[in-house]
Amino acid sequence: MVVLTQIIDVLTQGSDRPVRRLFAYYAIVAAVVAALSFAFPDIMRQVAGKGVNVTATSPQLLPDALEEAQRGIIGFGAGSLGEVAVVTILILLGTIVLMMPVTWVYMSARPIPGHSQALVQTLIILPIVVAGIIIVVQNSLALAFSLAGVVGAVRFRTNLRDTRDLVYVFLSIGVGFAAGVQSLAVGALVTIVFNLVSLLTWRYDYGRNALTPTASSQWAGPLETLASPTGMHEIPDRDLVLSLTPEKADALADRFDRVRSVLGKNKKKPRFNAVLTITTDYVPEAQKQAEMVLQKVTKRFKLDEVVQHTGKPSEIYYLVRLKKSVPRDEVLTAIHDNSDGMIASADLELAEPLQGRDGDKS
C-alpha cells in the first residue's frame, strides 16, 4: 500500500486532488493488466473477457479428453485444477483491485460527513463472495435453484443511512457478477465510470435545489440569535445542524421558533437578513474582491465561515444586511463583475421567514 501511495504521489506530482489520484491509480492498474495480458494472454482472456463472448481464434487446439482422463485433473493444463486455481485467484484479486477506489470515493466524496466502516468493508468483501457464488453456479440451472433455496434460508435486513449507500452495494454486487462470469473488463469500466460520476456530482454539488431556500438561509437568523451573548443556548455547530435529517431539522426549526418567540419581544430587526455563499479556489483573493463589493451594496456584513475543501472549491459564507434599494440580483451581479476571475460562483440566500416576521421586504 505504501509503495502504491508513493507511485501515485509520483504520478500526480503530490497532488491531493481525488480525480488526479484516481486516474493515477487506474493508470497503474491498466499498466499491470497490459503487462499481464502481454505475458499471459490466455489467462487474462479467461479472467477479463470470457463472459463477453471473446472467442478463441482459429486454428484452435481442442483439449484431448483421453489424455486428460489418464493424467487426471491435477496439473496446469487446460481445465486442470492449477488453471482453475490461478484463474479464480486472479478473479478474486481483480474484484479487490476494482473495489478499492470505489471505497475511497465512498469515504471521501460524501455530502454527509462520516461513513460506515462496516459498509466500507462490505464493499470489499461482498464482490468476492458474489464472484465465488457465480463461478460455482455458472451454467447450472440446478445449482442456481439450490443456491436460491440456501440463500432464502438466510435473512438479510439492514437499514442504510443514505440511499446512495445502496447504490454502492448494488455496484459491489455488479462487480461480483462481472468477475464471476469472467468479465472483469466490464466490471472495470463500470467502476471507473461510477467513480468519476460520483466524484463529479460531489465536486459540483449536483442536485442541490436551486429554487427553494436552503436550511442555512432559514436558520441564519436563529443561529445568529442563539450565538449572541444574550442567547439562552449555545449555538450548535453549523455544519452539524446542516447535516441533520429533514425530520430532525424540522424539529430543531420548531425549537428555534419557540426560542425566537421568547427572544424577539424587543422587536428589533435582525442585524443580518441574508447569507452570501461564495465558492472559490482562491480564498484570500476572493474574500478581498467580495468584501469590496459588499461594502458598497450592503448595510453591513460579517464573515461567517470559510469551509476549506480538498479537491473542490472552498466556500466562504457571509452574513449580510441588504440595503432596501439594492435587490438580490444586483448584489450578485456586482460580485460577479468584480470577481476578477477569482470567484467560481456566488449565491445569496434571503432569510425569507425573518423577512416575513420583520416586515422587511428588501
Binding site: V3, Q6, I7, D9, V10, A31, V32, A35, L36, F38, A39, F40, T55, A56, S58, P59, Q60, L61, L62, P63, D64, A65, L66, E68, A69, G79
Partner: protein, 302 residues
C-alpha cells in the same frame, strides 16, 4: 527516492514481462508439434485397434468441444476428411480436423438464424443443414469468421415427422433424413427414412424407406429406436444411425435390410451426431451433460 523506486519497479516489471512472454513463433511451433504428436498417437491407436482380434470398439481419440459447441448436434465428414459440426440453436458451422483435434475455422450461415438445427451433411460443394421442422438450409463453406449466403428448402414434412439427422447419399444424389418421431399412428411400428432427390430429372422427388421396428430393434432390449443422426458408411453405402435415447447403433442397407443393431460402443451420455470417414473412423458427438461436449473417434469395423 520515490521516483527512483518507481523507476526500479517499472524496469523490473518490463524485464519480468518480457521474460514471460511466449513469442508467436514459439507458440506456432508448439501448435504444430502438438498436432503432429496427436496424429502419430492416433495412428498408433488405430494400429492397435486393428490388431485387436475382438470386435470391441475402444476410443482412439476424444476431443472436448469449445463452449460454443456445448450443444453440438450434427456432424458430417467432408470429402477432404474434415468434420463439419454445428450447435443446436444457432446456424454457426465449425470446421474441425478430427484426427488432430483442431478447430480449423468457423463461419455463420447468413446472420446466424435461430432454429432447432439437428443435422448437417456435405453434398459436393454444397452443405445442407436440417432443422427439426424439415426445413433445409443450403449454403457453401465460407472463410473463417465469415457469413455465408443461404437458401432454404421446405420439405413440408414438419407436421408428419420430427427430424434429427441428415446424410447425403452420393450414388443416388439423395438426402436421407430419418424420423425420430412420426405423427401417424399406423407408421409408429416402422422406422421411416425419407429420401429427397436433389439432382436429375425427378429432382425434389420424395420417397420413404420404411423398416419394421422389430427388425431395427433386433435382439436388443429397446422399446423402439429414435434416431439422433444418420451417416452413410463410405465403404458399404449403408445407412448408419445412432440413437441418443436407446444408446444404440443401427446399420441399414439402402434397400431396408438391417445389417447391424447393437449398443453404442463406449460411454456416451448424450450422442447427437455420427459420421464415418473414408478411412473407417467412426465419430460420435456428445452434447454437454455431465461431461463437456466432445467427439469420440473409434475404428469402424465392417
Amino acid at each position: 527516492v520515490s521516483r527512483a523506486r518507481v523507476l526500479g519497479l517499472a524496469v523490473c516489471a518490463v524485464a519480468a514481462v518480457s521474460g514471460c512472454r511466449e513469442s508467436s513463433q514459439a507458440s506456432a511451433a508448439e501448435f504444430q508439434a502438438t498436432a503432429r504428436a496427436r496424429e502419430q498417437k492416433l495412428q498408433q491407436r488405430l494400429a492397435k485397434a486393428d490388431a485387436n482380434p475382438t470386435k470391441e470398439m475402444t476410443p482412439v481419440a476424444m476431443w472436448m468441444m469449445p463452449a460454443e459447441l456445448r450443444e453440438i448436434s450434427g456432424i458430417a465428414v467432408t470429402t477432404g476428411g474434415r468434420l463439419l459440426a454445428h450447435g443446436d440453436e444457432v446456424a454457426r458451422i465449425f470446421v474441425l480436423d478430427p484426427r488432430r483435434g483442431v478447430v480449423l475455422k468457423k463461419f455463420t450461415v447468413g446472420n446466424g438464424p435461430g432454429g432447432d438445427f439437428e443435422g448437417i451433411t456435405a453434398a459436393g460443394s454444397d452443405i445442407y443443414l436440417l432443422a427439426s421442422n424439415g426445413t433445409l438450409y443450403r449454403f457453401r463453406e465460407g472463410a473463417d469468421e465469415s457469413s455465408v449466403p443461404y437458401s432454404t428448402i421446405d420439405t413440408r414434412l414438419g407436421k408428419e415427422c420430427e427430424f434429427e439427422g441428415v446424410a447425403y447419399e452420393a450414388d443416388s444424389a439423395w438426402l436421407v433424413m430419418p424420423c425420430k418421431r412420426v405423427s401417424k399412428k399406423l407408421e409408429r411400428g416402422q422406422l421411416i427414412i425419407y429420401r429427397l432427390r436433389l439432382q436429375g430429372p425427378d429432382s425434389s422427388r420424395l420417397t420413404a424407406l420404411m423398416v419394421p421396428m422389430s427388425q431395427v430393434v433386433g435382439s436388443n432390449d429397446w422399446k423402439g429406436f429414435h434416431p439422433s443422426d444418420i451417416t452413410i458408411d463410405p465403404a458399404t453405402g449403408n445407412y448408419v444411425l445412432i440413437s441418443s435415447h436407446e444408446k444404440g447403433l443401427v446399420a441399414i442397407t439402402p434397400d431396408g435390410q438391417v445389417e447391424r443393431s447393437e449398443p453404442l460402443p463406449g460411454k456416451h451420455p448424450q450422442p447427437e451426431g455420427v459420421a464415418i470417414t473414408s478411412d473407417n473412423i467412426l465419430i460420435i458427438s456428445d452434447e454437454a451433460s455431465k461431461k463437456p461436449a466432445h467427439i469420440t473417434l473409434y475404428r469402424w469395423r465392417l
